[in-house]
Symmetry: C2
Subunit: 363 residues, 2 copies
Amino acid sequence: MLGRLRRLAILAEGRFTAHDAKTAVGILRYRPGEVAAVLDSTRAGSTAFDCVGTGGVTPVVATLGDAAALGADSLMIGVAPQGGRLPAAWRASVRGALERGWDVLSGMHEPLALDPEFAAAARAHGGNILDVRRPPARTPIASRRAATVDALVVLTVGSDCNVGKMTSSLELVAALRARGVRVAFVATGQTGIFCADQGVAVDAVPADFVAGFAEEMVLAAAAAADVVIVEGQGSLHHPAYSGVTLGLLHGSCPGAMVLCHEAGRESVRRPGGERDPGDPAIPPLAELVRVHEQAASWVHPARVIGVALDTHAMTPAAAREATGRATRETGLPACDTVRDGAGVLADAIEALARERRDHASHA
Amino acid sequence: MLGRLRRLAILAEGRFTAHDAKTAVGILRYRPGEVAAVLDSTRAGSTAFDCVGTGGVTPVVATLGDAAALGADSLMIGVAPQGGRLPAAWRASVRGALERGWDVLSGMHEPLALDPEFAAAARAHGGNILDVRRPPARTPIASRRAATVDALVVLTVGSDCNVGKMTSSLELVAALRARGVRVAFVATGQTGIFCADQGVAVDAVPADFVAGFAEEMVLAAAAAADVVIVEGQGSLHHPAYSGVTLGLLHGSCPGAMVLCHEAGRESVRRPGGERDPGDPAIPPLAELVRVHEQAASWVHPARVIGVALDTHAMTPAAAREATGRATRETGLPACDTVRDGAGVLADAIEALARERRDHASHA
């Protein structure tokens, strides 16, 4: 990961749950071979699967020393708090890792490498601090160039944050690749970047350049692919992050969108995740489809071609009922890409990509 | 301006036109008493009014020495290029101003204070570099708190960049203030910040915090005002900047919007301003009204209450015809706030503010 094969200790102290430790869960699901241990002293002795439903028997341990005994050589910050600040109580772990000469991998908004104490510890012991959310110095301005690529560009969009946009994107990439489709993945958030070994965290770049970075990445990815899957961010209905969502939509100029939603979630979550009766309601799926197609059309038209539901908290029967209802409400294929596999969505994407190719070859 | 009364030399070398020198024009219109001269050797000897239709007899001069002879003590970068980089040919002027001990005021994305050569010149000669676009270090996350203020919040929105959002905002502030309304202005771009002596350039902050800074500024402004006018940015239909626009809309949670448009402009301009047949078309005004009300409703409902047209390139008769047509197409009051004054829009805002107050006092 990011330059070399690693043995990661993933820091998730006190927060190693499916809801809080989004980054940890993503890495455990998509780069399991590089995880030595998860650090959460409140859950030490259990396994990753016990805590978050993925990651198998990866041990949860209490200390850096425990992780080192399992061969860890790098520390990854395993949470993605709103606001992107390192929890104060975690400073000692970061410093401790650097003092062992480990690399530290972080997706915080605040670059850890700019922290004088951390920078000094890295220098003294030979480790590196890799801040993947730190924006590149370039200042790209989008101008609908992503609409001109031959590849089919597919963007995941969502009803809220944390409803499976990254997961569905990676499941789609895997499903299409398994079918022999030339598919590329554009990572736009910290966890996606760790999984893909490249990308730009578009929520951290100066707002003027969100669309420009999206455009740049799509153009690069499309050069050697027939399908480009772009990891979505935020939600058009999110009070804090809707701008990132729209910039990404208008910069990447998808031809198709996959709508992601957590089945049963009724309102947009606030910072911290607590609920409040005043939270903005999530509209019905059919309206979400309409809204995304409208917003896309302001710059470049795109259709929603399927629904990816997160049903992880449901029984199999309830999940089946939820995906059936999503299809009835929208007229679109729907599935939970983790529970069911991404097959029906991959079918829709393959059909559309084929249609585009046929259309292009007849033109 | 920004800490003390200034005598500005505004740098607009080779670009002192109404189209290119947006920042210069804004300062000449709203802070004319602080402008000593405009620097453009290609137009030296003319007046500001000759070149850009505002600023009266403010002289256009060729050199820093000429400006110094007119009492200049600060240099302001007078253009706002897409991408926000200082034109390379202007480095000598910036260095020259600093070597005279002047302050330099800049709204470039790239902070001039981080340029080693400029920083050294400022240190050596005692001047300051004021980079107003540089984002504050805070990381505010919006959560619809701006929707809870008692004041009526009015956001200017637009069909494109450079269609008069800042100008209409400042004209509305002046018109309402002249009527005795307690009105506050929230500056969100470099020129607005120069005019208002405060504000945050939301297009330069990390994308996650655009809405948060808008929210923060609205809450502060609403504490001592009955009407808050928020300077809009970009356009929902702009391929590069739509994300900034939506973040500002959802962070500031306006109760009302004023739609700004340059009469006769038919497509969104690309970086650099050149035209291309493939440029996204600007939809009809009535559709723009609908689109903005829809986009607002995703987080907090708002109505468009009037249209501000930029008719500066038109004859008086054509301008009258354009505002009449805008009213027929939208059913809303319309005017060119510079040519006609902002009266009809101020009427609509006053009426709505009174309605809110009455509603609140009966509630």
